[in-house]
């Protein structure tokens, strides 16, 4: 159940009831003093009852559907001359997803806008954890657990003990509450000049899954309910001056991220005393505080030429800053910083991170001759990371082992430029044809695999409107992307690490590729009371890569329609099918651990994987007027079904080095992931009088998720499995955050009073 008590909720609804009781007086007052103000609005009160799996995380993902009194209101107050106004509304009053808004001002002069809202974010209601929060950012195991497990003779025994511990681990909810407040003012100094300022705070508190590993890859990892205590403050102000043929504007946007927590520290169950190779705790950093400022100037002008032409553009400059203090290299006391020798001492206190952002945009449109429209668009976005690289002579890997080799941070930066030329020609009264050419060019820093990359190609769009009741839109786009030589080791070289990447890999964001994109939509209204549309798209991306993502394809087809069978009967239906396919190739690359190190790069170890996703989404609605101006009924049904299938295949007879790791290239199909959602709604409205409406709402939801990835217990004894199928004792702690299926029935009865 919600952490909220019922008391505030009942109080708020009680307040609404009091308002309802006063409504006749308000009406009388407003009528008797009509020269002063007009007040109108609605107060809705009632109750909600539920049954079913109301605790399921997915049901409560962004909603609070608890039972109890429910209420909502909205009102508008105006002076008699309708110059000034005050408007407000509130919904889900007293619940974890309550929202309120209050606006006031003078029409066409100024407006003040206030908002407050809450949003639950429930990640899981099935998680279990043995960790107990001992401090704001520290999670500990019960006393004696570490020493008991660490004293056991081998991994198998430790695994067994861990399993016993996790079996009795208490449940913990993973959820976050998002509170948001906004205040804004808009002032129209004149018809031409508008000034705007706003402030927004987003406050997030709760917990979510965070994990950390110990040792090298292949070591253990644990997952814990990592705390969240963050806020974002956003300030925005703008001014715009608009004249007949031109306009100018300026805007400042400031964003300040504040994280109350710097780190998450969690006990390692396998060590009772800090030592190299066996830390008693691990510590991960959490997102650092940061700020961002962006100032932009924009303008638009009608060009003084002999035909309609207009240009709009903007330039912007921003800076992102981050100077949160670094943590030490490790929380493991076996690796203390030693200022005398410089060992594990930080070369600087913080990152002193500084990113400069430059934006520029230009968009010109013109109609040099009547049926021909021309457009030119240019866009520049530069992410100029001026943070100085830092060289760390040593670091501690996963709080476990000292790495006595230098590593260097890199500051990736990039510049993206887009150019588009468009020519639109009205071929006939029915046909409009657009032909264009697009260019998207990237320049990245040397730490990326490809420095310069350009993607370009033509497109064509056609709109056919044979009449006001029929419309066809088609578009086709082809793009070809070509980049500089691909440097597979660029990132490793920049960070001073040994290159371990497969040379033939091409990462999909930088690989050469060709793209075809076809879209269409046909809209038809054969009769006044019939509205039909058919839409579809197809997209194919072919990457010029031997390894990595090599092919990507998606297509969808959908239709929807609405028929007003009778003035009192309306029926709607819709359906969308979408298919997404990804194909990737990879290679199992084992190595041995005793010198001389040999890395096997054999085609025998190649494997490929294909991911298919299929989605069906459809629904129907029925609107009935049972009694004209008295009783209306709305019925709705939505069904969604989706699945993801990940298949894989690899050649038999895999190559491994002498003494190398077990077979990891045995590719196998994964179980299908399936999701299903049904929602049915019934809403019956009875308009008792002009001012009183009774409403009964019923909602049924049925959610099913079959996802082998999420269905994990806190302890998974067989999860430490190699590619050959051999299992080692599991020493991992999962948080068991599976999403439960649910079936839920929600009934709400409300009375709305209009005043």
């Amino acid at each position: 159940m919600s952490a909220h008590s019922c008391a505030p909720r009942l109080s708020l609804v009680g307040l609404l009831l009091a308002c309802v009781a006063l409504v006749p007086d308000v009406r009388a007052e407003s009528e008797s003093s009509a020269a002063d103000a007009r007040i109108s609005g609605t107060v809705e009160i009632g109750g909600r009852t539920t049954s079913g799996d109301m605790e399921a995380a997915q049901l409560r993902l962004y909603r609070d559907l608890d039972e109890g009194a429910i209420g909502a209101f909205r009102f508008l107050a105006e002076d008699d001359a309708q110059r000034f106004y005050l408007r407000g509304k509130g919904e889900n009053i007293g619940y974890d997803d309550q929202r309120y808004r209050l606006e006031g001002g003078r029409y066409n002069r100024f407006a003040i806008d206030l908002f407050y809202g809450e949003l639950p974010r429930v990640f899981s209601t099935s998680a279990r954890t043995p960790f107990v929060r001992s401090d704001t950012d520290t999670f500990r195991l019960p006393a004696g657990v570490q020493s008991a497990i660490a004293a056991l003779p081998d991994a198998a025994a430790q695994s067994q003990a861990l399993g016993a511990l996790l079996e009795s681990a208490p449940r913990t909810d993973l959820e976050m509450r998002w509170l948001e407040g906004r205040a804004g003012v808009e002032y129209k100094a004149s018809e031409r000049l508008t000034l705007d300022a706003s402030y927004r705070i987003q406050d997030k508190k709760g917990n979510r899954l965070l994990g950390m590993g110990f040792g090298n890859p292949g070591g253990t990892f644990l997952q814990a309910p990592g705390p969240i205590d963050e806020s974002i403050h956003t300030v925005r102000s703008s001014a715009e001056y608009v004249r007949e043929g031109w306009s100018v504007g300026a805007e400042y946007l400031g964003s300040f991220f504040d994280n109350e927590l710097d780190a998450l520290t969690v006990d390692n169950p396998f060590s009772a005393a800090d030592a190299a190779g066996s830390p008693t705790r691990g510590r991960v950093s959490l997102s650092p505080d940061s700020s961002a400022h962006h100032l932009s100037l924009s303008g638009a002008a009608v060009l003084p030429v002999g035909f309609p032409a207009r240009v709009v553009g903007s330039v912007g400059y921003g800076i992102n800053l981050q100077d949160d203090a670094f943590l030490d290299f490790s929380v493991n006391s076996a690796f203390p910083p030693d200022p005398a020798t410089g060992s594990l001492t930080l070369p600087q206190r913080d990152l002193d991170g500084e990113v400069h952002i430059v934006t520029a945009n230009l968009h010109a449109t013109a109609r040099p001759i009547d049926p021909l429209d021309l457009g030119l668009r240019y866009r520049l976005y530069r992410w100029d990371n001026r943070t100085d690289p830092i060289v760390f002579d040593q670091h501690v890997e996963n709080d476990t082992g000292l790495v006595d080799e230098p590593i260097r941070s890199v500051s990736n930066d990039f510049m993206r430029q887009d150019v588009e030329l468009d020519a639109g020609y009205r071929v006939s009264e029915d046909w409009v044809l657009h032909l264009g050419y697009e260019l998207e060019a990237w320049r990245r820093s040397e730490s990326r695999q490809v420095r310069d990359l350009a993607e370009h190609g033509p497109y064509a769009k056609a709109d056919w409107r044979p009449g006001p009741r029929s419309q066809l839109r088609l578009s086709y786009r082809f793009r070809d992307r070509v980049g500089d030589d691909y440097e597979p080791c660029a990132h490793f070289d920049a960070t001073l690490q040994g290159c371990s990447e497969l040379g033939a890999l091409r990462k999909f964001d930088q690989a050469d590729r060709s793209l075809h994109d076809l879209r269409g939509r046909y809209h038809l209204m054969p009769r006044e009371n019939v509205d039909l549309s058919l839409s579809g798209d197809f997209r194919h991306v072919d990457y010029d890569a031997d390894f990595g993502l090599v092919e990507q394809q998606s297509w969808s087809l959908g239709w929807d329609g609405h028929v007003q069978l009778h003035p009192r009967i309306g029926i709607g239906a819709h359906y969308v099918y979408e298919a997404l396919e990804y194909e990737m190739d990879s290679r199992w690359r084992p190595r041995n651990f005793a010198p001389p190190i040999v890395v096997v790069n054999s085609p025998l170890n190649d494997w490929s994987s294909r991911i298919d996703q299929r989605f069906h989404t459809g629904g129907v609605t029925l609107d009935l007027v049972l009694l004209v101006e008295r009783v209306e009924l709305e019925l709705g049904y939505l069904v969604h079904h989706g699945r993801e299938k990940t298949n894989a295949s690899g050649a038999a007879g895999l190559a491994t080095p002498p003494g190398g790791a077990a077979d990891g290239g045995n590719a196998a199909d994964w179980p299908e992931v399936e999701e299903r959602l049904q929602a049915a709604t019934v809403a019956l409205e009875i308009f008792v009088t002009d001012a009183l409406t009774l409403e009964a709402r019923y909602r049924f939801e049925d959610f099913h998720l079959d996802d082998f990835r999420r269905e994990v217990s806190a302890f998974e004894p067989d999860s430490n499995v190699s590619g050959s199928g051999a299992t080692s004792p599991s020493r991992d702690i999962f948080l068991s955050e599976a999403l439960q299926d649910y079936r839920a029935h929600v009934v709400a009865l409300t009375a709305s009073v209009e005043f």
Partner: protein
Amino acid sequence: MGERVAALALATTWMLVCGVAAAEPSASGYVGDAVCTSCHAEALEEYRHTIHAKVLNDTNARSVKQRRGCESCHGPGAAHVEAGGGEGVGGPRWISFSEQEEGDAISRQNEACLDCHRGGSQRFWPGSPHANRQLRCGDCHRVMEKVSDEHLLSAKTQTAQCSGCHRLPRAQMTRTAHMPTRRGALREGWMDCGDCHNPHGSLGPRLIEAASINQSCYGCHADKRGPFLWEHAPVTEDCTNCHHPHGSINPAMLKVSPTRLCQSCHIGVLHPSEARLPGSRFVRGRACGSCHVQVHGSNHPSGVGLTR
């Protein structure tokens, strides 16, 4: 009787003439709201609840044009009145905002709106994707009736409005991992399409209001903004490299299963290159994210592998 009729006709004509004269010199062709009301009373009853009704009058107008009421948008109505009314009837300066009109008439309709709404979020309308596809303002906005709480939309909410044409994103929002955008029966409604997109045109890609996709995401997810000591470069460039913003069957709106997603770019020695059996801890739970927990970037001196 005939005298009475003649007197009534004379009086009516005199009132009309006076009404027109009071509003504008008769040569301009404006007739005033009173004349419009005489035929369109029912429509104007609905209209009076709209923001336009509150602004386009003597009390709140900021310009001569705004004082013209109905004719602020429709243009001078004298020819329309003289012709006895009717959709599309009223001469070249009259704009009926009829859905039956095609071609240049759409531009004329939109120009009438842009005349007042050329600033703000409509600044980038000319040449924008929706403008280029011959959409009229009235395709999304119902000016004569207050259907939505804001923006005079034809549908009750922005999401419902946009999904009238953009069915695929609406379908994607029904997936297990999605933004709090669902409306109607599924009642979330925290976000609308307009929180990220500007349908009137923008200088950002894909009608994104912000300068870039990432800048848009950072509005609510500033914890991912950095700059970080150890960056994950594709993250900094484009959140949609890994995430599907409208919804996904995968956790965290990832495009595909986390293991395969990472493996599409990482074929290092040993663990990243293994195909993995489905029961493996590298597949289940958070997959790669169980250890590489700070995949968006780490500020830890030992976080080079994004594990701290």
